[in-house]
């Protein structure tokens, strides 16, 4: 692209410092963004990416440093300031109103009015044109937002953002719940906006995508600036090692040991015709002791739904589940836990962490729940347990009394893993355990899964990253459009085979 060093940056941040009690979130960080570029902000969890973005969007105020927009120093005191200055953000989770119409979502708070009344026709027409012209999206804007897929909602959120102000657009993990086709659609829109001169700050954990769309890369590590690079001049392996801070081939080095055959193994769980109307068609499936079963399929193929039925997070309306050959079934999460099943939900924020509680309390929660009211774990023992897991899983900051909401996503995920490992499960269900977390933590979690299985734990592993599913699984169950379509193991396990099964036809 036409980014030259002679050009003036549209956004320049210099010498930014930001401290939180006990944490130096940003230390002397500088960052610049040019018009007409896609700039990837990279770093592990806790590197300071989120903090930097929150500074830009006015959520946090800085302790020291300057922010200049078009060579003018600005003070961003609130999200409103940011918006007025021309900095818009689209977050990982689309935060629009699902039951308002698309047009209302785009124009909420600034509806076209005449004599104090909203001019609906004009609003709908504007919304339609905006989406068509800038997003290449032709949809009915009078339908409620939840009518559309997450990908389309994402594009609508972007349309809203750029229609408010269009100098700097921040995309925070926009692709984490999109499938390949949707990602391409998003990238097409990004390229177009870029060519119109918009400066785009792009945060993602997917390395492929960084190289696919970005012009420049800025790397942060532990709150410090590591450097700014042209994407074309920074080999992938260098990027990873700069992010992690040491030469690491972690992901390649994972033991790709011979996956043991299942013959002679006893099943831990057998599900027959397990299903629920509207979410997953009846499925037969078994999970052996000490086996890692991967669930592969696109988003919405029924992966999560199946896992939730097994844990009884949702109630099945057909089928039967045998656990270690015994009938009786599982009718509530409580019963599932009593049967030594653990379930790490994909929705960490809503279904995982308890924000207001400490790391210690979050870790012991499931164990304490299964012990009942009166058999309490002494505080001393709780701290011992928490310390043990903080050490084993490398949770940062290593303080059991820290509130979990102040931890980074990867560390929250580790706390949740600790919560479940503490219950000594025989079957561990992991739904997207590595989503939105950095490579280092990802590798740690994958390694942990492999070693747990070696010790005899069964694991049901769900991930949108096919590569990851292939790496850890002994057997893969492929789902498509709410049906189980294929099961494969041993020799059959290859990226192309699974892809074919997922795609079907």
């Amino acid at each position: 692209m036409g980014v030259t060093d002679k050009q003036q940056p549209v956004l320049q941040m210099s010498g930014i410092h930001k401290h939180f009690p006990g944490v130096k979130a940003l230390t002397n960080v500088s960052f610049r963004l040019f018009p007409g570029e896609v700039h990837a902000l990279m770093g592990e969890n806790g590197a300071g990416k989120s903090t930097l973005i929150k500074v830009l969007t006015g959520v946090y105020s800085i302790d020291q440093g300057t922010v200049e927009l078009e060579q003018k120093a600005i003070r961003i005191g609130s999200p409103m300031d940011a918006q007025q200055a021309g900095i818009s953000t689209v977050y990982q989770e689309v935060n629009l109103c699902p039951n308002l119409s698309v047009a209302e979502n785009i124009y909420i708070g600034r509806e076209p009015r005449r004599f104090g009344r909203i001019v609906w026709n004009e609003m709908n027409r504007n919304a339609e044109q905006l989406l068509k012209r800038r997003m290449n999206l032709e949809i009915d804007v009078t339908l409620p937002l939840h009518h559309y897929s997450v990908a389309v909602q994402q594009l609508i959120a972007i349309a809203r953002a750029i229609s408010i102000s269009a100098k700097v657009l921040i995309l925070d993990e926009p692709t984490s719940s999109l499938d390949r086709g949707e990602v391409l659609q998003l990238f097409a829109v990004m390229s177009r906006l870029k060519s119109e001169g918009l400066a785009i700050l792009f945060v993602t954990h997917f390395l492929d995508q960084v190289y696919e769309i970005s012009d420049r890369i800025t790397i942060l590590r532990s709150g410090e600036l590591i450097g700014e690079y042209r994407a074309s001049e920074l080999p992938r392996i260098d990027l990873v090692s700069k992010m992690i801070g040491k030469e690491l081939h972690l992901l390649e080095e994972l033991p790709k040991e011979a996956k043991s055959a299942n013959e002679g193994k006893e099943p831990f769980l057998q599900a027959t015709a397990l299903g629920k109307k509207g979410s997953i068609e009846p499925v037969d499936m078994a999970i052996m002791k000490g086996e890692i079963v991967g669930l592969a399929g696109l988003l919405g193929s029924g992966r999560t739904e199946l896992a939730r039925l097994i844990f009884a997070a949702d109630k099945a309306d057909s089928g039967e589940v045998l656990i270690e050959g015994a009938k009786g079934g599982v009718h509530s999460p409580r019963q599932a836990i009593d049967n030594a099943i653990a379930f790490c939900s994909e929705n960490r924020k809503l279904e995982g962490i308890i924000d207001d509680l400490t790391v210690r309390e979050n870790i012991i929660l499931a164990l304490q729940a299964s012990k009942g009211w009166f058999q309490t774990i002494s505080k001393k023992r709780q701290i011992e347990i928490a310390d043990e897991y903080i050490k084993a899983l490398n949770i940062n900051p290593p303080n059991p009394e820290h509130l979990i909401k102040n931890l980074s996503g990867g560390n929250q995920q580790k706390v949740l893993l600790a919560r479940w490992l503490l219950t000594r499960p025989k079957l561990l269900i992991l739904d997207e355990p590595t989503r939105g977390i950095d490579i280092g933590a990802k590798a740690e979690i994958q390694k942990l899964v492999l070693s747990l299985a070696r010790e005899g734990m069964s694991v049901l592993f769900i991930s949108s990253e096919l590569e990851e599913v292939l790496r850890v699984s002994d057997r893969i169950v492929v789902l498509r459009d709410r049906h189980k379509v294929q099961e494969m193991q041993g020799e059959e396990l290859s990226q192309s085979n699974v892809m074919k099964a997922i795609a079907g036809g």
């Binding site: 300057t66 120093a73 844990f311 997070a313 999460p333 409580r334 599932a336 836990i337 379930f343 939900s345 809503l350 279904e351 995982g352 962490i353 308890i354 924000d355 207001d356 509680l357 309390e361 929660l365 499931a366 304490q368 729940a369 299964s370 012990k371 009942g372 009211w373 009166f374 058999q375 309490t376 919560r419």
Partner: protein, 342 residues
């Protein structure tokens, strides 16, 4: 120290007491009369005891993310039942009769709590609506029980509950102490406190972590009913009568206020039993102060509302920050602003 969650409640209480001391220096004096202690402080504890007990139950409900508007009505019903039963007896002071009356009314109060709990946890009603039903209907029930009359009893035994004294102190203070210890033990020595905070903060995540949230909710609403019942007994025994119309009127609001002033968020989650105790004392002290300073009765509620507003603002962190920011910018030299950005 300012960071401690009890700092502001304690500060407010201290400020109120200080005001009283300046206004009438003998506020703190306690004298011995007929072998009992008398004084304003004792009065505050004595008259505040029903409110404290109701607020203790309310704390747990609010920590669950719920609310219980029916406590005032339950107070009236419990008082009406026990007074009715005692008034029917031939020997109104008989221990067996009084104990039976107390037992029945407390059982009814617990059942009423269970009713709220069932509506909220099993039928999934919004707590504010579910308990509004009993708040409105309960007043009617209390009047039906009393047949629209004020029932008076003359039972020395029953009167002891709300007006007797033990070790020179009003007996109700011991009931408060017992309930406070009970709640503290229940929430901090068993896992109940953790469950409540967890459910109040994230119900879905708690269910997936294996907490039986229904059982916990039922138990908490029942406990709140129990607290309201005990408060009803103390109130009616103190005046030896039950007034279905006015007993416990607006108690729910004072109790909610006490909980919030004590530092427990209406959003649920973290709670502080000690905070609630202080919050209830603040409200009772405030009420006493208003009466003592001779505010005309027609504006006492306005004065109370104003003081409560100030108390809430002082406790609000964002409000304090805004004030401090204002103060600082007033003394902020314009030159510094310019230098920073150049």
């Amino acid at each position: 120290m300012v960071k401690h969650h009890l700092f502001w409640p304690v500060a407010v209480l201290a400020a109120l007491l200080l005001f009283n001391f300046i206004y009438s220096p003998d506020f703190f004096s306690i004298i011995v009369r007929n072998g009992n202690l008398y004084g304003s402080l004792i009065d505050i504890l004595n008259f505040g005891s029903p409110l404290i007990i109701v607020a203790l139950g309310m704390t747990l409900v609010i920590a669950l993310g719920g609310i219980d508007l029916s406590v005032g009505s339950v107070v009236a019903i419990a008082g009406a039942i026990s007074c009715l039963l005692i008034s029917k007896g031939t020997d109104q002071s008989a221990w067996s009769l009084v104990l039976m009356a107390i037992g029945v009314s407390i059982a009814v109060a617990i059942v009423l709590g269970l009713w709220n709990g069932v509506l909220v946890s099993i039928f999934g009603m919004q707590p504010i609506i579910a308990t509004l039903i009993l708040m409105v209907a309960g007043r009617g029930v209390a009047q039906l029980i009393a047949d629209g009359q004020i029932i008076t009893v003359s039972s020395k035994t029953y009167n002891y509950l709300g007006a007797g004294s033990l070790a020179m102190l009003p007996f109700s203070i011991f009931i408060v102490a017992a309930m406070f210890i009970l709640v503290s033990l229940l929430t901090r020595r068993t896992a109940l406190g953790l469950y409540i905070e967890s459910i109040g903060c994230k119900p879905t995540a708690s269910r997936l972590a294996g907490i039986r949230s229904r059982t916990v909710m039922l138990a908490v609403y029942m406990f709140c009913g129990l607290c309201a019942g005990i408060a009803g007994l103390i109130l009616s025994s103190n005046v030896s009568s039950a007034d279905g119309n006015n007993a416990g009127l607006w108690y729910e609001l004072d109790a909610i206020l006490a909980v919030v002033i004590g530092g427990t968020s209406l959003n649920g989650g973290r709670f502080s039993v000690t905070g609630t105790l202080i919050g209830a004392l603040i409200i009772q002290t405030l009420t006493t102060t208003i009466y003592m300073t001779g505010v005309p009765p027609e504006i006492t509620l306005v004065v109370k509302a104003f003081v409560v507003l100030v108390v809430c603002l002082v406790q609000s962190e964002s409000f304090r920050k805004a004030i401090v920011a204002r103060w600082k910018t007033r003394h902020y030299p314009a030159e510094r602003e310019v230098k920073q950005h150049v």
